[in-house]
């Protein structure tokens, strides 16, 4: 190992631990990586910055042996190596922490960490005692202790991530790749994980940090490589750049980092949620007495770490889950026990969190997806008979109005890009008179252009009258377009703050601790 100095100039001088030269990877119809070069030095935290779909994950899959490059070389300590599969990569000290954790929930921490490189007693049997001992030892060495016998499925996301890192360290990883590691963490957890990463770098590990969040990259990285559409478009040192510069590199043109949310003109109360309780799948109230109002013409953002009851709250409001207590009122009438279709007919629209699972039928053509909620109504059907012409006409309109890029309305929704899929849903849900618009993670996984488009549409829709409820795990998104922000923590709304004056750190602290930390984001309004 090299000297454990985090000194950046020293890191730049040392010979690269890893080099990727001219990596090209083609998939049918796309060049995911186009002759990419990357150099990572020992003890360096190297950020790979790019939009969703820019080719970061493909590059890392190539490095990890999950995808075979069509062209190019990988060099480790100056030697050309051939990585045929994850085993090869692991053997050479390259480990990866995937965005979606590669952990088996029913197995214990020890089983997960040792899987694939087990401690053995004889040729056949596992040595459980040795496994426990090694977990303890690793935990002590890197400063986070895990119970080796805990079931991984029972751990919080932050701790699961530590199990993933432990997995890599157990395999003597010298080069550690982290794919969007902060996507699921609170700001506080992010700070903690950054501490761990800096410690690892100080010990001489090289870390490749994949992200599309500019400020994070500026905070943690020693060196930044920016990728756009499969190509390296620039290389920066944090001290010599800023968010605007990186954003322009990443997107390819100058971007407005924030959408102008304008003035809101809240009118009468449209949605009133009172003392709502909702059971989770595991039993027990995961939404535990939530109350808030949303007025017509305003956006109420709901911030919170994933798993604090937001999903269940949205499902209850949309009639997808029966509340176990409390009430939901829409425009003065009780809708607590309404079904999704009742709400649809009462002018409530919904953009669900997972467009592949909930929002679209990917194997259906755009035409059928555009009328997925309206197919049974005039003019799309008369009685039980479908009117294909009316459906086709509606699809043409929607595609035109919301700029959905598609060769034809009869191709399947699965062939569209993520941004265009989301625009299709927005077209379906936004394009009618509404009283309430519920948005759950409306821009997750989209490119900057689509995010901007959708944010503008949301604000435009708000100004047209309906109440808007926005739930997002991206705190930045909530801060950017909400008029008011409700923070959820352990099934409760712990504070409602003004969206224009809210301070990110303070909201983050509320998300992580529920406000018991003492500081407050801004003078809290009464959580009615």
């Amino acid at each position: 190992m090299t000297a454990p100095t985090p000194d950046k100039s020293a890191a730049r001088i040392a010979a690269p631990a890893l080099e990727m030269r001219g990596i090209t990877k083609r998939y049918p119809g796309v060049v995911a990586n186009d002759s990419i070069d990357l150099e990572v030095r020992p003890g360096e935290i190297h950020a790979l910055l790019g939009e969703n779909g820019a080719g970061k994950s493909t590059l890392m899959n190539v490095l990890y042996g999950l995808a075979r490059p069509d062209e190019g070389q990988i060099l480790l300590d100056g030697e050309v190596i051939d990585i045929e599969g994850p085993t090869d990569a692991i053997d050479r000290g390259i480990s990866m922490v995937h965005q979606h954790f590669m952990l088996v929930p029913v197995l214990t921490v020890a089983d997960n960490v040792l899987l694939g490189k087990e401690a053995m007693r004889g040729r056949l049997f596992l040595d459980q005692g040795e496994a426990r001992r090694r977990i303890k030892e690793l935990g002590e060495r890197f400063g986070f202790e895990l119970d080796p016998d805990a079931k991984v499925g029972d751990l919080s996301v932050g701790w699961q991530q530590r199990v993933e890192i432990l997995k890599a360290l157990y395999r003597d990883a010298r080069i550690l790749v982290l794919d969007e590691p902060t996507a699921v963490l609170t700001p506080q957890e992010t700070v903690e994980i950054f501490t761990v990463l800096r410690r690892l770098a100080a010990e001489g590990h090289s870390i490749i940090f994949i992200s599309h969040k500019l400020y994070e990259v500026l905070e943690i990285a020693d060196h930044i490589t920016v990728i756009r559409r499969g190509k390296v478009v620039g290389s920066r040192i944090p001290g010599e750049t800023n968010e605007e510069d990186l954003a322009e590199l990443m997107v390819g043109h100058e971007v407005q980092l924030t959408v102008d949310r304008g003035e809101s003109h809240p009118a009468e109360t449209m949605l009133r949620v009172q003392d709502l309780r909702v059971r989770s799948d595991r039993g027990g109230d995961i939404v535990n007495g939530v109350s808030f109002d949303v007025r017509a013409g305003e956006i109420l953002g709901v911030a919170g770490v994933a798993g604090n009851g937001q999903d269940e709250l949205v499902e209850a409001i949309m009639g997808l889950r029966q509340p176990s207590g409390g009430s939901i009122t829409l425009d003065g009438s009780d809708v607590t026990h309404d079904r999704p279709r009742d709400l649809h007919e009462k002018q409530v629209a919904f953009v669900p969190a997972d467009r592949h699972r909930f929002g679209l039928v990917l194997s259906f053509p755009l035409t059928d997806n555009v009328v997925l909620t309206d197919y049974y109504m005039e003019p799309y059907s008369r009685g039980v008979v479908r009117d294909e012409d009316a459906i086709a006409k509606r699809a043409d309109e929607a595609i035109e109005l919301y700029d959905v890029r598609t060769p034809s309305p009869t191709v399947t929704a699965g062939t569209l890009s993520g941004g265009n899929q989301q625009k299709l849903i927005v077209a379906r849900e936004f394009d009618r008179d509404l009283k309430l618009l519920v948005l759950d993670q409306p821009t997750r996984g989209l490119d900057v252009g689509s995010i901007e488009f959708i944010h503008k549409q949301i604000i435009k829709k708000r100004d047209a009258g309906p109440a808007v409820l926005l739930v997002s795990a991206e705190l930045d998104e909530v801060l950017e377009i909400s008029d008011r922000i409700a923070v959820m923590y352990r099934g409760k709304v712990v504070a409602i703050v003004d969206g224009r004056t809210a301070n990110k750190e303070a909201v983050g602290l509320l998300m992580a601790t529920g406000g018991k930390g003492g500081s407050s984001a801004s003078p809290p309004e009464t959580a009615s």
Binding site: G359, L360, V361
Partner: protein, 394 residues
């Protein structure tokens, strides 16, 4: 342009189906030649042609001979047999195919068929003194309701408890056998019969359209042929059909879009059972005329083959039903003339399915281009997790 694309993928599917049938016939021929020493006492490289010609003659009445060459038409008996045999296959195939469209694998068509037969027989015995115009429709309705009820059970269990329909329907098939065995050897047993069986269906016997003794064309054939466009219309032109497709393709999205997946699952399984039960009723009232305690039939299982042959499309199922009906109708003559046991048809059936599933072999042999990515293929999409998957909500 899109229509051209679609028709190309349809052409590809048709080519694969044709290729699978052809390859299965080749495999069948190889099996016959290999086993010819046991059948005829010596290796007979032409046993297969003898067998297939007899099969053709038995199924269509067309007799072809090569030495000297001649083609004869021996009468309509073969065609009648084929139509009569195809009737339960078409209805059963529609039953299984309907399930596929909703993402359900109804292996229970067999049990629903049996319950349909039982229902029809019970009604027929109760209506022994009624005129035919009343007895026939009532007995058929009793059959299809019994089948629908027997399909409702796994549908309800799937929708409200998450019990996977494949395992439940397999179990219910065996339960159906026991129910029939109990009913027919107990309360329904005909007095004086030499073995456990019900009395004849009497007034509820389906009217005969044509044919002579042993080869009678009963009116149930019309019902089967009429069911094809009806099911097609429901699936492709009605809103309910759209809901069924949506639940099959993505039950979560269906629920989010305001549909009621649970209801649709129960409805589809019941409708599937209804069609299978109708097949059972028609078979009893038109062909069998009584129900034995040990009713040996595999119609419900063969229906799976038919549905897959037709790729769950009603018109494809009509073709699949006729094909299997023809094979079954021709098989006895094949056994008589060539000595090849009728079980050859079971092998052919299984091998056709094998090649449909392993379509890469067929595509490779016949140089058929790969299917377009993203196209829905019933052969690859019906299995979900089972054994305790969470119930569809809503």
């Amino acid at each position: 342009m899109i229509n051209r694309l679609l028709s190309r993928s349809l052409r590809g599917q048709l080519a694969v189906t044709g290729g699978a049938i052809l390859l299965a016939l080749v495999v069948g021929a190889i099996v016959m030649v290999l086993t010819s020493p046991i059948i005829t006492g010596s290796l007979d490289p032409w046993l297969w042609s003898e067998a297939y010609l007899a099969l053709l003659q038995g199924a269509t009445g067309i007799a072809i001979a090569f030495d000297p060459f001649s083609i004869d038409f021996t009468g309509f008996n073969g065609v009648i047999d084929t139509l009569v045999r195809a009737t339960p296959y078409i209805l059963g195939g529609l039953a299984v195919g309907l399930g596929f469209k909703a993402g359900l694998f109804n292996i229970g068509a067999q049990g629903q068929f049996l319950m349909g037969a039982l229902g029809a027989v019970v009604a027929a015995i109760a209506l022994a003194d009624a005129p035919t115009v009343i007895a026939v429709p009532l007995a058929l309705v009793a059959g299809l309701l019994a089948g629908a009820a027997y399909g409702f059970v796994p549908g309800w269990l799937k929708a409200f408890t998450g019990a996977h329909e494949v395992v439940v329907t397999i179990m219910l098939n065996y339960v159906a056998l026991q129910i029939i065995s109990w009913a027919v050897s107990g309360p329904l047993r005909a007095a004086g019969a030499t073995f456990a069986r019900t009395s004849d269906v009497g007034a509820a016997t389906l009217p005969i359209l044509a044919g002579s003794s042993g080869h009678l064309l009963h009116s149930g054939v019309i019902i089967a042929f009429a069911a094809v466009p009806v099911v097609w219309w429901v699936l492709y032109r009605s809103t309910v059909g759209f809901e069924i497709h949506t639940v099959g393709a993505n039950p979560d999205a269906a629920r989010y879009a305001g549909m009621r997946p649970r209801r649709l699952i129960v409805l589809t399984m019941s409708a599937s059972g209804l069609l299978a039960g109708l097949a059972g009723g028609i078979e009893i009232l038109g062909v069998q005329h009584y129900l034995p305690a040990a009713y040996a039939t595999t119609v419900g299982f063969d229906a799976i083959t038919v549905a897959l042959l037709g790729r769950a499309n009603p018109w494809g199922i009509l073709f699949g039903g006729l094909l299997l009906g023809a094979l079954r109708a021709g098989a006895p003559l094949m056994q008589i003339k060539a000595g090849v046991p009728v079980q050859m048809i079971d092998i052919l059936q299984g091998v056709i399915l094998f090649f449909l599933a392993a379509d890469l072999i067929v595509r490779w042999v016949f140089r058929i281009r790969e299917a377009k990515a993203g196209s829905v293929d019933e052969l690859k999409t019906v299995t979900g997790s089972y054994g305790g998957s969470s119930a569809t909500k809503g």
